[in-house]
Structure formats: structure tokens, C-alpha cells
């Protein structure tokens, strides 16, 4: 059964983005759009998985989407009340692959940095952090330092830090890398939980784990090389394929990931993945 949904406003746009580095084309004319998914009677954020084999420029695209580095041409646009504006550094939250946190601050200290970025009143900021820690089941970790946490706990703190920073857009670089099967499920739950806290929350995940991408995302973008007539790859990766998992009825249904249609989608994407 397909959950009834509609697309509302465009939240983020990648507009003809290209990147060259030392004369090498890394990304070529990348275009994509993220729209607000609306499902009557429930709060739904958006989760987009950016799939692609290693060396296709996922991290490079990710850094341009976060406004951390500039593309050679094109831009990433964020919706605002007047239309769109180019992404600014700090406007898109980033959770890097190693879940970086400040080693010299406790978990509470790290999260307070995020809370105080928007809330000058330290008492209110602390209340926000405490509520966040409870929501993410990390309340007993407040006084520990980042190196005292497990990988999964660090990931949750890093996501929470970005949410507390009130970023509706959060990029996660390879959140499933080096996690075992059970921890991938936990990470998926954490990300879904965080994305669905607000209607415009939008998580963009770079990964090469097709099964996890199908389990968590509502859209999948495949980053890879186009081929010329002889089948040779054309330099500069693009989004060569997109999968709308909402339209396929693979979202918001408990246990849907074990269904035949989910398995068949995973197989289809894996086949496509080989030619990216």
C-alpha cells in the first residue's frame, strides 16, 4: 500500500554545479532538487541517499552542498521566504564520517556550543540540550568526553548537535561505514527519528550501502559517470539516476524493507550501482 503523499515547496536545489580540481573534472553539471514531502496527519522530514561507488565525488558534492567549499561553477540554493539564496557556510549541518566533536569539551560542552549559537540565554540553551540528550537516550553521557563514547553514541551526539543548532538541512557522510548490521539499524532509526522531528528537516546521506539507503531514504540519487557511445566513462560525475521510493511505496510502512518489492528495488539499484 502506498502512503498518500504530496510534494510541496522546493527546499534545496543543486543548480548546474560543476567542479574541477587541478584540471580534472570531478563533478559535471549536477542538478537536483529536494521538495518537502507532505503526508496528511503526520510530520515527515525528507531523507535523500546519495549513492555512488568510491571516487565519484560524493564527499566533494557534499562539501559544496554544505557551503564549506565553492564549486567551479553552478550553485546550491536554499529556499527562504523571498525565494532562494546560495548556501552559506554554517547553514547546512554536517556530520562527517568520523563524527567529529571537540575533544576538549564534554558532551554537554559540545552540545552547549550548538545551543548557544542561537540562544543567548544559557539556562534555556541548557534546557534544550538536556531535552535533546533525553530524546536521544544519551542523558547519562553528558559529563563524558567524546573519546569515552562508542561510535554509535558519537554519531547520535553529532546528529543531535546539528539538530540543536537548528539546522533543517543535515548532511551525513557515510553514516553506515564501519558499522555492523545491528548498529546500521540503530543508525537508521536515529536518522529517521531525527528527520521526522520537523516537517522541513532534510537529511542527505552519502553512502554506498544500497540496503541501508533503501531502508531509510525516500529518494535515492545515484552519482556516477555517464558513458559515451563506446561505453567509456565521461569524466565528471553527475546524478545519473534517481529513485523515488515514496512512489514505489517503500516508505513509512513498518517492515516494508523485508517485502519483495523492497528486495527487488535493492537488486535493481545494485545492478545500476555496478555501472556507475
Amino acid at each position: 500500500m502506498i502512503v498518500p503523499y504530496t510534494y510541496r515547496d522546493t527546499l534545496l536545489k543543486i543548480d548546474h554545479l560543476s567542479l574541477e580540481y587541478n584540471g580534472r573534472q570531478i563533478l559535471r553539471d549536477v542538478c537536483a532538487e529536494i521538495k518537502d514531502v507532505y503526508i496528511p496527519g503526520r510530520v515527515t522530514g525528507q531523507i535523500i541517499a546519495l549513492l555512488g561507488p568510491s571516487g565519484r565525488g560524493k564527499t566533494q558534492l557534499f562539501r559544496r552542498m554544505a557551503g564549506l567549499d565553492r564549486p567551479t561553477s553552478g550553485q546550491v540554493l536554499i529556499a527562504d521566504q523571498k525565494g532562494f539564496h546560495p548556501v552559506r557556510t554554517g547553514e547546512v549541518g554536517v556530520v562527517a564520517q568520523s563524527y567529529p566533536l571537540f575533544a576538549h569539551r564534554t558532551i554537554m560542552g559540545n552540545l552547549m556550543l550548538a545551543a548557544l549559537a542561537h540562544e543567548p540565554d544559557a539556562k534555556i540553551a541548557k534546557a534544550t540540550v538536556v531535552a535533546g540528550l533525553e530524546n536521544f537516550k544519551l542523558e547519562d553521557k553528558a559529563d563524558l568526553y567524546p573519546c569515552q563514547l562508542s561510535g554509535g553514541q558519537r554519531q547520535r551526539v553529532a546528529i543531535l548537535q546539528m539538530l540543536i543548532c537548528r539546522e533543517p538541512f543535515i548532511l551525513l557522510d557515510e553514516p553506515f561505514a564501519s558499522l555492523d548490521m545491528i548498529n546500521i539499524e540503530v543508525a537508521c532509526e536515529t536518522i529517521s527519528h531525527a528527520a521526522n522531528l520537523n516537517e522541513i528537516n532534510t537529511f542527505i546521506i552519502t553512502t554506498h550501502d544500497v540496503s541501508a539507503a533503501v531502508a531509510i531514504a525516500d529518494h535515492i540519487w545515484c552519482l556516477g559517470f555517464e558513458r559515451d557511445l563506446n561505453g567509456n566513462p565521461i569524466s565528471g560525475a553527475r546524478i545519473v539516476e534517481t529513485y523515488d521510493l515514496l512512489a514505489r511505496g517503500l516508505c513509512y510502512e513498518p517492515g516494508i524493507i523485508t517485502s519483495d518489492k523492497a528486495m527487488s528495488t535493492i537488486r535493481e539499484i545494485k545492478e545500476r550501482f555496478r555501472t556507475l
Binding site: A66, L68, T89, G90, V92, G93, V94, A96, S98, P100, L101, F102, A103, H104, L113, A114, A117, H118, Y145, C147, Q148, Q161, M162, C165, E167
Partner: protein, 258 residues
């Protein structure tokens, strides 16, 4: 016993004590029974130390210790300020040039500093501060150059402006490493101190005494002074280590206890 020679072996407290005391005793035995006529025996060194102490070695040690602390504190402040200034491109060439001055000889610089300084103490202090700073700056610049990019990204993602990024990532984030650099340079400062006190003898100090004893070839006295400096240096090293442990407890959480 076999763990003493196993790579990366972690010893319990008792084994560490056995190892350390064993090596100390072995060193003393080798020293005591050494056939070298040039090497003074422990008894001779102890007797030379007693004589030196009676002649005022304690006061000379205090003079040197105070000078060393002054030099290390000043050199640390100057070097940190210069190292942190490298976040601004304007200061990078200046700081790079300053750190290259470590290749200059201290003896060659004495004349220049003599023209600037107004007293013997000031001359010694400026020579020491200069020679420690150029090395301190080199080490500290290396620390700052190797900060992972993702730390800067994280700070910027948290809406910090570049001054705040500098405070959080460059200053607070690397504070634990400052102690390691101080530790290394404070030891080097002791090494240079005896040289500086040998060149500028106006205020005395342990370096002056050492040069005098060396000049008269009193090896037992030279050994006594060297061992005293060594023990003082070890105490200083422990004190800096304790300051690091107190100020930056997080720095010890991921270190393998060997």
C-alpha cells in the same frame, strides 16, 4: 620477565617498579665499578656535591631556576602569540622567518643582545628567551599546521565566525599540546641556561659554577652539578606533566598506559 622484551607490552605497576629500580641499581653498579680513571666514583661526586653546597650551590641553583622559569614563561607567551598569529596570512612569512633563526649560533648573537640589554640579568634572559622561542615556535607551528580540517568544518558548521573558530579549534583545541611543547623546550632551556650563564657571568648561577669547575677539570664537581640539574629538570618535567593532567584530563583518556 619475558614481557620486558615483548613489543608494546603493558606492565603492571609492580613490574614497572622492578624494571625502573633494577635499571637504576644497574647504572649505579656500572658507574661504581667502572675501570675508567676519568669517571669519578659516586663517593667522590657526593663529597664534591657537599663541598659545592657549602660554597653556595643552593643559591646559585635558585638564581638559575628563577632565570629559567622567567625565560620559559616569557618564551611561551611570545611563541604562543606568534604561533596563534599565523591564522592571519600577514604574520605567516614573519613567523616562518623567526622560526628559521633557530639555526643561528647563540655565541654570535651575544654581541647584538649586549647592545640592547641594560643589565646582565636582562642579557641572559633575552638570550634565553630568544633561543627557546625560535624552537618553541617551530614546534607549536607544526602542532597548528596539523589540525584536521574537519575540526575547522565542525566549528564553521556551528555558526562560529573565524575569530571564534580560532579560539575553539586553534587555541582551546590544541591547549593540551602546548604542555608537551613547553615540556620539551623547558628542558632545552636548562641546556642553554648553563651556556648563557657561562657567557654572561655577572649574576652567577649554576652555569657559571659548572664552567668554573670544568675549567679546573674538577670532574667530580662537574658530575655533581650535572646530576643536580638533571634531578631539578626531572622535577620540572613532572610538574609540567601534572599541570597538563589537571588542565586537560581528556588528553589522557585515549593514551595506552605503558
Amino acid at each position: 620477565m619475558k614481557h620486558f622484551f615483548t613489543p608494546n607490552a603493558i606492565l603492571d605497576k609492580k613490574s614497572v617498579q622492578i624494571l625502573v629500580w633494577g635499571q637504576i641499581i644497574l647504572a649505579i653498579l656500572i658507574w661504581t665499578f667502572s675501570p675508567s680513571p676519568l669517571l669519578p666514583k659516586p663517593g667522590e661526586v657526593l663529597s664534591a656535591f657537599t663541598d659545592l653546597w657549602e660554597q653556595g650551590l643552593g643559591a646559585e641553583l635558585i638564581t638559575s631556576f628563577v632565570l629559567n622559569v622567567e625565560a620559559v614563561v616569557l618564551a611561551t607567551l611570545i611563541s604562543l602569540l606568534l604561533a596563534y598569529a599565523t591564522v592571519m596570512p600577514f604574520f605567516r612569512p614573519i613567523v616562518a622567518l623567526f622560526s628559521k633563526l633557530r639555526f643561528l649560533s647563540l655565541v654570535g648573537l651575544t654581541f647584538v643582545f649586549t647592545l640592547i640589554a641594560t643589565s646582565g640579568h636582562e642579557l641572559k634572559l633575552s638570550l634565553l628567551v630568544f633561543s627557546v622561542s625560535v624552537f618553541f615556535l617551530t614546534s607549536m607551528s607544526d602542532v597548528l599546521m596539523t589540525i584536521p580540517k574537519e575540526q575547522f568544518d565542525l566549528a564553521r558548521t556551528l555558526h562560529m565566525n573565524e575569530w571564534r573558530v580560532t579560539w575553539e579549534v586553534v587555541i582551546l583545541g590544541q591547549f593540551d599540546k602546548v604542555f608537551d611543547v613547553i615540556r620539551g623546550n623547558a628542558a632545552m632551556s636548562w641546556m642553554m641556561l648553563s651556556m648563557v650563564e657561562g657567557i654572561v657571568r655577572s649574576e652567577g648561577g649554576v652555569g657559571t659554577v659548572l664552567m668554573d669547575q670544568n675549567h679546573h677539570f674538577r670532574l667530580a664537581a662537574v658530575f655533581a652539578i650535572q646530576i643536580t640539574i638533571l634531578l631539578l629538570g626531572i622535577a620540572q618535567d613532572i610538574a609540567i606533566g601534572m599541570m597538563k593532567r589537571f588542565s586537560c584530563p581528556y588528553a589522557f583518556l585515549t593514551v595506552e598506559a605503558r
